[in-house]
Symmetry: C2
Subunit: 275 residues, 2 copies
């Protein structure tokens, strides 16, 4: 039995009354400003799909829409295989919570694709940047009270949160080594969570702190379960950059590599910012 806080946060209880319905509770260990870190929410959706008795294959794609803030406390996930083909399966997922008026509301909508992986021709056209290894870098101490930040060992190569919020930002690229703290064997849920590890690009681009939050995240999983097991413990190299900021939303593209340079996941976000 594991005692890693990540696995504790992923604990789901199947509700026998409704197929594909799972009960869970948010974890204080992964608290963000208000409610849980978006990455842990993505991970628990992966958990619901992969522990569903009808699940075919491994995670290939996930889109999570943060329709509202997840409130600390209990939630319910409903994961439904909407279409099952020979080697792929499409999922529709929602996370629901009972609000103060005792009404159950949709808080997260999501879709996922699982697939039986095959060996095919392969190519990595996005090689890992040539950067110093994690041992050559100090752990970045983030001066912020959110609990989830303590769950990750982050070592920035570039693009830390600006020390001076002086409006003099010039680009939005962050590059860092990251691993769970304590370390945890890599799997699809862990990888999904790591895809959301980047603070809002608008802070960096503007060197200005404005209210911001992810409204949609997509993750494409390129590593098989076997490849992730082979990686096991260790730092991943993670990179994120925005393309455009307009009308209160910006996008973000991210890549995560294993330390040996395998591109494990590519990810995208649309992020709200206030002004």
């Amino acid at each position: 039995m594991t005692h890693h806080p990540f696995d504790a946060a992923l604990h789901l209880m199947p509700q026998n009354s409704t197929p594909g319905s799972f009960a869970g509770t948010t974890s204080p260990a992964y608290e963000n400003m208000v409610g849980p870190y978006g990455g842990i929410t993505a991970a628990v959706l992966v958990q619901a799909v992969t522990q569903h008795p009808d699940c075919l294959g491994e995670m290939a794609a996930l889109t999570v829409n943060y329709a509202s803030g997840v409130a600390p406390g209990p939630f319910r996930i409903v994961a439904t295989p909407a279409r099952t083909n020979r080697s792929t399966q499409h999922w529709v997922i929602s996370l629901l919570q009972v609000n103060k008026a005792e009404v159950e509301e949709t808080v997260i909508t999501a879709t996922a694709l699982t697939a039986v992986r095959r060996d095919t021709w392969q190519a990595n056209d996005m090689p890992m940047p040539n950067v110093p290894g994690p041992d050559a870098l100090a752990r970045t101490r983030v001066n912020a009270p959110m609990q989830w930040l303590n769950r990750y060992d982050m070592r920035f190569v570039q693009g830390e949160i600006p020390q001076a919020m002086d409006g003099q930002g010039t680009d939005s690229l962050s590059q860092l080594w990251v691993q769970d703290d304590p370390p945890r064997l890599l799997d699809a849920a862990g990888l999904a969570a790591l895809c959301d590890v980047f603070y809002p690009r608008v802070y960096l681009r503007r060197a200005t702190r404005v209210p911001a939050g992810t409204v949609s995240m997509t993750v494409y999983f390129h590593a098989s379960t076997a490849e992730m097991a082979e990686i096991g413990l260790g730092y991943l190299f993670a990179q994120a950059q925005a393309q455009v900021f307009r009308h209160g939303f910006f996008d973000q593209s991210a890549q995560l590599w294993s330390q040996s340079g395998t591109l494990l996941a590519t990810s995208h976000q649309l992020v709200y910012y206030k002004e």
Copy 2:
């Protein structure tokens, strides 16, 4: 009344029996190899959301999962606002068809975000490449029988389908000018369709034709309805490139700009390939 084939393909009839349910039919004018062009399917989902009487704001994000091939003929779209906030709204959408066994099945799953756009600080960190304009280039004649190819005037700057499928491909970048044929005023549905205009990157990267098809596409819409109306008619500049090919799937990142260099949409796909 318009007679553009795109608008004809988008024609949906609200089914009064079920809120958010719309009946449509695939358009022969946008036929792909088997069934409709994926872009027209994305567009008709946009149409369902934006013509829904409860729709709040404009398209901001769309994820379409091509769970199965859309068969030529009638379909039904169900678009449900799962969560409505003050200025954003999250949609869950499905496209269904009655199969040969007379059973209605899910063919497409999708989610969307609509939002009331506001004026905010803005920046374009992905400027349009410096390329010859559309008038300096000849229309590319694609030697393929699919009807949808006739619906777009494409003028490649680079990355046409290789003339010689000789296995000597080196990269996956395509850059082209594109507009509807006949020209059509730009809107969110038209932009969604244009995001799928790229042939499978694996053809180009390998200079080898292998069975391939999009399984999931995400579009982030960065232009307001007013900005799109201002653009009106004219070519867009479109670019797509893969990052990684592995285990039968590759990803693709795409950007679409107006001729004056406004980044209108960023888009991503996960695409199946056979071997």
